[in-house]
C-alpha cells in the first residue's frame, strides 16, 4: 500500500457524498470524498455508520468498487428490510455527509504480483461482483496480464451491475453470466444456479493453480467454494467473502 509506513489508528471520519449513479433499479454507486483517505487495496471494504436523531446507530460494511488510485466509490444494493442500504440507494444526495471507517480487510484482497500462482477465477453472486470489479480494474490499472475468468450469477439481465463495463472486458478477462430467474429472449448463456457442471466448464482447471475469489450471498459462496474444492482447488486457494442471506 502506497503512502505512510506509520500505522494509523482506524477511526470513524466524515465522508461527503459526491456523484451518484444508478447501476440497476436496485443498485447504486456512490462516490465518497474522504479527507486523508489513506488509499486502499482491491477487494477491501469500508464501514458506514448512520446515526438517527434519537441516537440509534446502524453500521454496515460495503465493498469498495473502485481500484486503488481511483476516486473512492462503493456500490450498494438496496435491501428492502435494510437499515442502511435504503438510505444509500434512495435518499443520499451529493453533498450529504456520513461516517465511514476504513479501508478494512487484508484477506479478500488482490495485488499484482502478490501471488506466484496461476490465473484468477472470480465468482460473483449478485452484488458480490463489487469487490471483484475492483480487482479487474486494478489488474488493468497496473498493467497485469494475469488471465481472469469472471463467473457472474445474477437474477436477471436487468440486475447485472456494471453491465456496460463488463460488455467490453479488457484483454485477458473473460466474463460468463448465468441468469437464474429470468433471461432475455434468445438468451444463449447459462440460466441456472451455479453448479458443479458449470464450474467444470467455466473455472480454470485446478492443474493451472488458479487463485479463486468468491463473493456473494452466503449460500452462493458456500456452494461455489465447495464446488471448487470438489474440482481439486486447495481450500487455501479459494478466498471467500459472504454477505449473509440477502446480499450486501
Amino acid at each position: 500500500m502506497a503512502g505512510t509506513a506509520v500505522r494509523r489508528r482506524l477511526s470513524w471520519q466524515t465522508a461527503t457524498v459526491g456523484r451518484v449513479t444508478d447501476e440497476t433499479p436496485r443498485v447504486r454507486t456512490l462516490w465518497l470524498e474522504v479527507p486523508d483517505w489513506p488509499g486502499h487495496r482491491a477487494g477491501q471494504h469500508l464501514d458506514i455508520r448512520l446515526t438517527a436523531d434519537d441516537g440509534y446507530q446502524a453500521e454496515r460494511a460495503y465493498s469498495i468498487a473502485s481500484a486503488p488510485g481511483e476516486p473512492l466509490a462503493i456500490t450498494v444494493e438496496r435491501l428492502d428490510d435494510g437499515e442502511v442500504s435504503p438510505y444509500l440507494t434512495e435518499e443520499a444526495r451529493a453533498g450529504d455527509q456520513l461516517e465511514v471507517r476504513g479501508p478494512v480487510g487484508g484477506y479478500f484482497v488482490w495485488e499484482p504480483g502478490s501471488d506466484p500462482g496461476g490465473p484468477l477465477l472470480l465468482a460473483a453472486g449478485g452484488s458480490g461482483v463489487v469487490p471483484l470489479r475492483a480487482i479487474v480494474r486494478e489488474r488493468s490499472r497496473t498493467g497485469s496480464s494475469v488471465p481472469v475468468r469472471l463467473l457472474y450469477s445474477s437474477r436477471s439481465w436487468e440486475d447485472v451491475i456494471y453491465s456496460s463495463e463488463l460488455e467490453l472486458p479488457p484483454d485477458g478477462v473473460q466474463v460468463t453470466y448465468t441468469l437464474t430467474r429470468s433471461q432475455p429472449r434468445a438468451w444463449q448463456g447459462y440460466a441456472r444456479r451455479v453448479d458443479m457442471q458449470m464450474l467444470a466448464e467455466v473455472a480454470w482447471p485446478a492443474a493451472e493453480q488458479p487463485l479463486a475469489y468468491v463473493c456473494g450471498p452466503t449460500c452462493f459462496v458456500e456452494s461455489v467454494a465447495a464446488g471448487l474444492v470438489g474440482l481439486g482447488y486447495p481450500a487455501g486457494r479459494v478466498k471467500t467473502e459472504r454477505f449473509g442471506a440477502t446480499g450486501q
Partner: protein, 93 residues
C-alpha cells in the same frame, strides 16, 4: 450443489464471515486481523479470522468456528465501550 446439498452442509444463510468485522477488529486490536490465524478451543480447527462464521443479531457480534460451531469470540458494545470475550479461542496469532 443443489439446495438439498447446501442444507446438508448445515449452512446458516444468516451468517457472514470474518471479513465483515475487520473494522471492529481493528478498533479492538489496533491492527488488521482478518488474516490472523485462530485455533478453536473446542475442536482445534485452525482458520484465518476472515473464514470464521459471524453472526450479528443486533446486540453484539458472535464469532463461531466453521467446523464445530463453537463460539470463539463475542463482542458487545455498551455506551461506546466494546467488551471482548475471546474465551473460545485456544490461540490467535
Amino acid at each position: 450443489m443443489d439446495d438439498a446439498a447446501v442444507d446438508d452442509a448445515a449452512v446458516d444463510d444468516a451468517a457472514v464471515d470474518g471479513n465483515a468485522i475487520g473494522g471492529l477488529l481493528i478498533e479492538v486490536f489496533g491492527t488488521e486481523m482478518t488474516t490472523a490465524v485462530g485455533t478453536c478451543g473446542n475442536c482445534g480447527a485452525v482458520a484465518q479470522v476472515a473464514e470464521f462464521a459471524v453472526y450479528r443479531p443486533g446486540l453484539g457480534t458472535v464469532v463461531r468456528c466453521r467446523s464445530c460451531g463453537s463460539v470463539l469470540m463475542v463482542f458487545t458494545e455498551i455506551r461506546s465501550v466494546t467488551c471482548v470475550d475471546l474465551m473460545g479461542l485456544a490461540s490467535l496469532t
